[in-house]
Symmetry: C2
Subunit: 373 residues, 2 copies
């Protein structure tokens, strides 16, 4: 990635707990002054949580900026990858927080992708029953995870099952960090960008379709716009239904099958974005069963292929295991199968009348066609 | 304990999250009908969390009542005692919840003392980011812990450091269960009852003083009245400041020293109520240093002795360790020592200007006089 992009800003509207999202270049080095402007107390130590890969590249810049502004900051580093989203690593971070002397006015910063964000966010939510939290996403996927306040760790039997709603005080999204992202992570990140279009905004889907190449090349202005639009959709939905009583569930498009695939693969084998790309194709096929036509699945598939994302279940996955994993998913109310099903590009509905057999059929199809992956 | 007591009811006033506390005899057997009346869904399984000692005595009654009302209920039993308030046991309960198939509309019931309440409450807070929670306290101390929504587990370095605010949907306090309480637990429980008087209500302190014998004998009507008054004070304070921004901190009278003693003793050696009884004497001595006179300490001590509670630090405790444990306590803001200090019986203030040396002196005194325990 080369060049600069304008700084884009938007607000997640949650009354007293509203917060800004800043998206732009050169932001990491401004962390300290942003903390000062927003009145974060200098006397209370900050815990910077990051992962091994991100630490080497960006932790120094953030810490230096904070120290220049008078803050005390301690670094806690976890292994890269989904396996760190565990209760064990959570406990290690609480130990680090205690040893650092974090107090009730302290802040936890998540510098990294969705793994670091979810994990550090749960630390911020539970430590002393809640301290301040700042998200500094460094992956494309994290445009999704850093907004909305869902934080969690995994349990061996289910993903994200232990968590909280804990909103950040702000989200600082420095596009420069995305230049070092492995190409596979870039592609996986766009799965959630496309998802935000598919659930809410047909025009944005069209724009993604037309700009896929610029996006894959991480062209700053296209990237900034795409992340802004993704965050915008997420913000609107979260503002209207923070605690997922109804509307917010639409954000789970592709996630019922997606989470099951992740669980069966062993966390980390299949990237989250890859798993939900497959899941979104599955949901579009459910739409066909409900009579919304076959084109939706073809169209979804074509778009995701354009972002070089998988659209079939890799061979070797066991259907029974996938079905069983879905039983533990939060999206099942009282034994019924609940799915987010697209009606057309830009609009979805939540159906709680999805026959398990349809899901099984589609899982089988998506496996059977794995050769076409 | 013999006989019946009238059922007393009060409400914790928290807007949409307001809930009732019912205190009386014969309530366990009414659990099922109370769940029905309040619209708890029969399709979603219930997880009944209890400890070994309580299980044998009361779990059957509760389960039978729920089953008769059409509910599915699974039992999860933890070892009795403070050591169960750990992240490991928390994880075991999440596993049990998953294996039971708890869904988003499910309820976690805590049947037991404060340990079970805090632990099961944190499970209810974090499982799927929060499910319904019902408190069924079976100790005197739990009149305090079951009201107000503070839930937590301990870390080896600090007590209650990992937790949440998660209010129950109701509190069902069956006085009959208190008959089987070991005498030492009865006494320890009254420490928090007395605390509620000391921070808020001089007349109630006087009543406790006059009725100590009836209370120690668990005379139903005295007991019902005392627990109602204790819950009432707690409710008022929590209603005005749910998240401990200011007022709620007064509930920590005696807890800064108390928690440190518990941590140094190894959780479980010194009962929570015993530790805070000693802590309240320490706070009253701080009051003397601040010029509020010496009688307060003498008076506090006399009252606590009447309930056969310890008022000195047992020999063998190390002063440095106690002081170090206090550094990890949540009640220290930005390195300063914060204490709840009584001004007179029924009124306290929060002081953030307490010199560490005064605290150390008082700890030393309370140890030095241990012979008079
Ligand atoms: N909370 C939410 O609302 C929400 C929403 C979506 C996803 N999620 C969660 O997000 C997680 C996935 O997030 P992710 O895809 O960002 O994964 P991730 O955090 O594991 O990051 C992906 C990989 O890229 C590396 N990396 C991160 N930033 C880098 C950079 N700038 N340069 C080089 N390498 C970098 C990381 O070390 C890691 O190996 C999942 O656990 C998922 O459940 C949460
Ligand atoms: N959340 C809060 O606001 C809050 C407030 C005060 C205390 N607490 C917590 O409460 C805990 C202490 O609670 P506790 O004193 O009730 O301890 P506890 O839960 O350990 O119960 C004390 C003992 O009595 C046994 N027991 C319980 N009920 C019994 C019964 N009816 N008959 C016979 N035996 C019975 C238990 O098995 C246990 O051994 C501490 O962890 C403390 O931190 C929390
Ligand atoms: Zn996702
Ligand atoms: Zn207490």
């Amino acid at each position: 990635m080369a060049g600069e992009a304008q700084t884009r800003e938007l607000t997640v509207d949650l009354g007293e707990r509203s917060y800004p999202i800043m998206i732009g270049t050169g932001l990491l080095a401004r962390t300290g002054s942003l903390f000062s402007e927003r009145g974060f107390p200098v006397k209370s130590p900050i815990l910077l949580v990051t992962d091994r890969a991100v630490e080497d590249l960006y932790a120094g810049t953030v810490e230096q900026s904070l120290r220049e502004a008078g803050y005390t900051v301690a670094r806690a580093v976890v292994a890269s990858g989904e396996k760190s989203k565990s209760l064990d690593v959570f406990e290690e971070l609480v130990t680090a927080a205690l040893e650092t002397g974090l107090d009730r006015r302290s802040t936890v910063i998540a510098l990294g992708g969705g793994v670091v964000g979810d994990l550090a966010g749960f630390v911020a939510a539970a430590y002393m029953r809640g301290v301040r939290f700042v998200q500094m996403p460094t992956t494309i996927l994290a445009h999704d995870s850093s907004v909305g306040g869902k934080v969690a760790v995994n349990h061996r039997l289910a993903k994200n099952i232990i968590g909280a709603f804990h909103q950040p005080e702000f989200v600082l999204y420095d596009l420069d960090t995305l230049a070092s992202l492995p190409p596979r992570e870039v592609r996986a990140g766009y799965a959630e960008v496309v998802k935000h279009g598919l659930i809410w905004d047909e025009a944005f889907v069209k724009w993604c379709d037309e700009n896929a190449e610029r996006l894959l090349a991480l062209e700053p202005d296209a990237l900034g716009y795409a992340l802004h639009e993704g965050c915008r959709v997420k913000s609107i939905v979260v503002s209207r239904d923070e605690r997922e009583n109804d509307l917010r569930a639409i954000l789970n498009l592709g996630h019922t099958i997606g989470h099951a695939l992740e669980a069966v693969a062993g966390y980390g084998e299949l990237l989250h974005g890859e798993a939900i790309a497959i899941g979104m194709v599955g949901s579009a096929r459910l739409a066909a069963r409900f009579g919304y036509g076959d084109e939706l699945a073809a169209e979804t598939e074509r778009l995701l292929r354009k972002f070089e994302l998988p659209v079939r279940i890799p061979s070797g996955f066991d259907t029974d295991e996938i079905m069983a994993a879905m039983q533990h998913d939060k999206k099942f109310k009282e034994g019924q199968m609940v799915f987010v099903v697209p009606k057309r590009v830009g609009e979805v509905e939540i159906r709680s009348d999805v026959p398990a057999q349809w899901v099984r059929d589609i899982v089988e199809q998506l496996k059977g066609e794995a050769g076409k992956l």
